[in-house]
């Protein structure tokens, strides 16, 4: 498995956020994108998911452009933005059911996934009663029930407490050990084996 960006550049208005940005990611590796606010981290992630078109350059999945092979690419991709795609008036289980319908499913049941992110007790509670950390954990649960190799995550640890961060790290580690790939941004230190982590600094 192989995910690669070649000579990407991106503008916001007239300001160039980044240019000639390249990286290569193999199975089992994580790319950590770092940079101050406004450096273009979210814009870069949106380019990498294919939601946005780059000003220049291309993104390759298995050596094919993600825009040419977009059906294949999308079926391998889980994307989570910095917002939680949840509906307040629905229960945790209903929300997870909706989220799981967006991607190919694996064999893990929704209830087990909720258990895994420590929300088993609250599966029938409406999400509006949840704290920000619980909402984030619920969004992360959607990664567990999807059969996708590439996770692209914008601030996955945002709003998580210490236990939540540790939980995310163990999920990420498991995914990498199963030959998954992760591209993510973070403001927090990341406690993962250094040989699996590549770093990319924006706006320096």
């Amino acid at each position: 498995m192989h995910y690669q960006a070649k000579q990407l550049s991106c503008k916001r208005g007239r300001k160039t956020l980044f240019s000639e940005l390249s990286f290569e990611l193999q199975a089992g590796q994580l790319l950590l994108i770092e940079g101050h606010n406004g450096a273009g981290k979210t814009s870069l992630l949106k380019l990498l998911t294919g939601l946005r078109m780059p000003e220049a350059g291309e993104i390759l999945w298995q050596s094919r452009s993600i825009h040419d092979a977009h059906n294949d690419f999308r079926s391998k991709l889980s994307w989570l933005g910095h917002q939680n795609p949840l509906k307040d008036e629905q229960s945790a289980l209903e929300n997870l059911h909706t989220l799981s319908s967006f991607r190919p499913r694996n064999s893990i049941s929704l209830t087990d996934a909720l258990q895994e992110v420590k929300l088993g007790h609250a599966k029938h509670a409406q999400v509006k009663t949840f704290s920000a950390g619980m909402k984030r954990r619920l969004s992360l649960a959607s990664l567990l029930v999807a059969n996708t190799q590439l996770w692209i995550l914008d601030e996955p640890q945002a709003a998580l407490d210490k236990d939540g961060v540790a939980l995310y790290e163990s999920l990420a580690k498991q995914h990498l050990e199963n030959d998954g790939m992760i591209v993510m941004t973070s403001h927090h230190p990341l406690n993962l084996p250094a040989d699996r982590v590549q770093r990319l600094a924006l706006g320096v």
């Binding site: 949106k46 294919g50 946005r52 999308r74 991709l77 629905q90 319908s101 967006f102 190919p104």
Partner: protein
């Protein structure tokens, strides 16, 4: 098809759980109708004369106002991005969302329109045609309006942009909708106008979702 139905069900359920917001378009509709006799004068013959156009304009504005929130929440919480990246068709999503939105906001409008029409002295014979024209016309208003909503949904300052984009495209529906009621109030057959409305209905419901879907893709990409 089953996923379309489950989507509609989900939207209806969500609307039921936040039913407070649903009535707003209805209240707006009533208020606009109230403004006309106050602004123009309560002469019964005058009101009866302008009632068809007046009810249609009020219904059109109420539909337009109700559209503003159509995709806003899904845009802000990232659901729209998930849809765009999922293997599901965005057109199906648009269809489901619009059908449920029509059921939630426009159907009540159609239901109260006869009551408002009677307060404006519209002849009772024309009520049936009024209902039929609204049933055919409001979906078109919704589907065409959704294009404008999809184009402006990612913008911070878009409040007055939506009517500017959408109202010119509402003119044919307004013309034939109001005219249908008007001719039937004068005792003639409105079949011609209703056929044309039905034609616009078919055209709008088949073509507009594709424009909405591609506009949503553009909005998500910014």
């Amino acid at each position: 098809m089953s996923s379309l139905w489950s989507l509609i069900r989900r939207d209806l359920l969500l609307a039921y759980r936040r039913r407070g917001e649903v009535g707003n378009a209805l209240i707006f509709f009533g208020l606009v109708v109230l403004l006309f006799p106050i602004g123009i004068g309560a002469s019964e013959t005058l009101l009866a004369q302008i009632a068809p156009g007046l009810i249609w304009i009020a219904a059109l504005l109420a539909t337009l106002m109700s559209l503003d929130s159509l995709f806003k929440e899904d845009y802000q919480d990232g659901t729209l991005e998930q849809w765009t990246l999922s293997p599901h068709s965005l057109v199906a999503f648009v269809w489901a969302r619009l059908i449920s939105h029509w059921l939630i906001t426009a159907l009540p409008l159609v239901a109260v329109a006869p009551v408002l029409a009677l307060t404006l002295n519209l002849p009772a014979d024309a009520i049936g045609v009024l209902l039929l024209s609204l049933l055919l016309g409001t979906p078109v208003l919704m589907f065409v309006g959704a294009i404008g909503v999809a184009l402006t949904t990612g913008l911070q300052k878009s409040s007055l942009l939506l009517p500017l984009l959408v109202l010119p495209f509402y003119i044919p529906v307004l013309i034939f909708g109001a005219s249908a009621v008007e001719v039937s109030a004068s005792g003639w057959s409105a079949a011609g106008q209703l056929y044309i409305l039905a034609g616009l209905f078919v055209l709008g419901l088949t073509l507009a979702p594709f424009a909405v879907a591609s506009a949503l893709k553009v909005s998500v990409s910014q």
